[in-house]
Symmetry: C2
Subunit: 192 residues, 2 copies
């Protein structure tokens, strides 16, 4: 049985995590302080280290949560080509509309820093996306010589790179048109 105290602690943890994810997205990781997280979450700033140890611990927990959300949001692979293409297109489109999409880019900076504690977790997020792509693509009739692995790296890369161009210049980058081009390329490659 969960005691009242445990339940409150779990609730506080959730509130802190949600506030931290928002702030890391809006201000970036470096610019966010425990005081900001305390204010946004309504939880005393002094209790944040009790829950997460350090700011780095908080960042890792936020990434853990994003990874779980990401995994939960990806659909089941199917051998029906049109359905598979829809599935890939939906996954691609999600990055542009979910708040976690921007977080993903903001944290790239931290992940690329030499010796970064979140590098491993960030690579895991990339791998979860690639693995999903591979599982969908393995069921499709790919052109001779094209591996599901290579194509999956390409698809994940395309979505990441279109997203970044759009974040930098939303008025000048028509991302739906770029994703439509990707779908057309894929359809021509795998439809009979």
């Amino acid at each position: 049985m969960t005691t009242r105290r445990e339940q409150t602690s779990q609730e506080s943890r959730e509130l802190i995590l949600a506030a931290a994810a928002e702030l890391f997205t809006e201000k970036g990781y470096r610019q966010t302080t425990f005081a900001d997280v305390g204010e946004r979450s309504g939880i005393s700033r002094g209790s944040i280290p009790w829950h997460f140890g350090s700011k780095e611990g908080l960042l890792l927990a936020v990434l853990e949560r994003s990874l779980a959300d990401l995994r939960a949001g990806l659909g089941e692979p199917t051998a029906r080509v049109e359905t598979a293409l829809d599935l890939l297109a939906e996954g691609a489109g999600a990055l542009f509309v979910l708040p976690a999409g921007r977080l993903f880019v903001n944290l790239l900076v931290e992940a690329l820093e030499p010796g970064s504690p979140i590098q491993g977790r960030y690579v895991e997020m990339h791998e979860a996306l690639r693995e999903h792509g591979r599982r969908v693509l393995e069921l499709l009739p790919l052109p001779p010589g094209m591996s599901a692995e290579g194509l999956s790296v390409l698809l994940v890369g395309a979505v990441i790179g279109v997203h970044q161009q759009w974040l930098l210049a939303p008025d000048r980058v028509d991302y739906p048109e770029a994703l439509a081009a990707l779908r057309t390329l894929m359809a021509r490659a795998v439809l009979p």
Copy 2:
């Protein structure tokens, strides 16, 4: 006629720029100090502000130079499909082998920061790449409904995103295979 003094000044400027580009690539922009640039270039650190005003001015000059190198390195568009595909493949491959490729990613962080002074310049670099892609693609027989603009955003994005996955996990990301998949997709879309 260039005086001796002007020549020396121009040489110092070049040495500082080359050293700064290396250091921004290796250590990142924030971690690099005028002292580092002075030591690497062999030019007195005190003269750096004289040439570039501030660290931000130095960063803008490094970006300006990268943009010029980038433009000079892109080949001339052609209507021969195989040649055009080679041209796009070469452009894509260059990001992975040139030292400026890593600089490009390191500076993305700075460019995405709200109010960043380099955001405009970074967008220009993206646009130079997209424009090159568009000029090559406009000469090719694209599938119905696919615009050279949308496809160009996609190709630039694919290269950026594959590059980042590879930087984070070089042992786990087979980038040549991903670029080969891109070439196959393109060939199936535009070859008769």
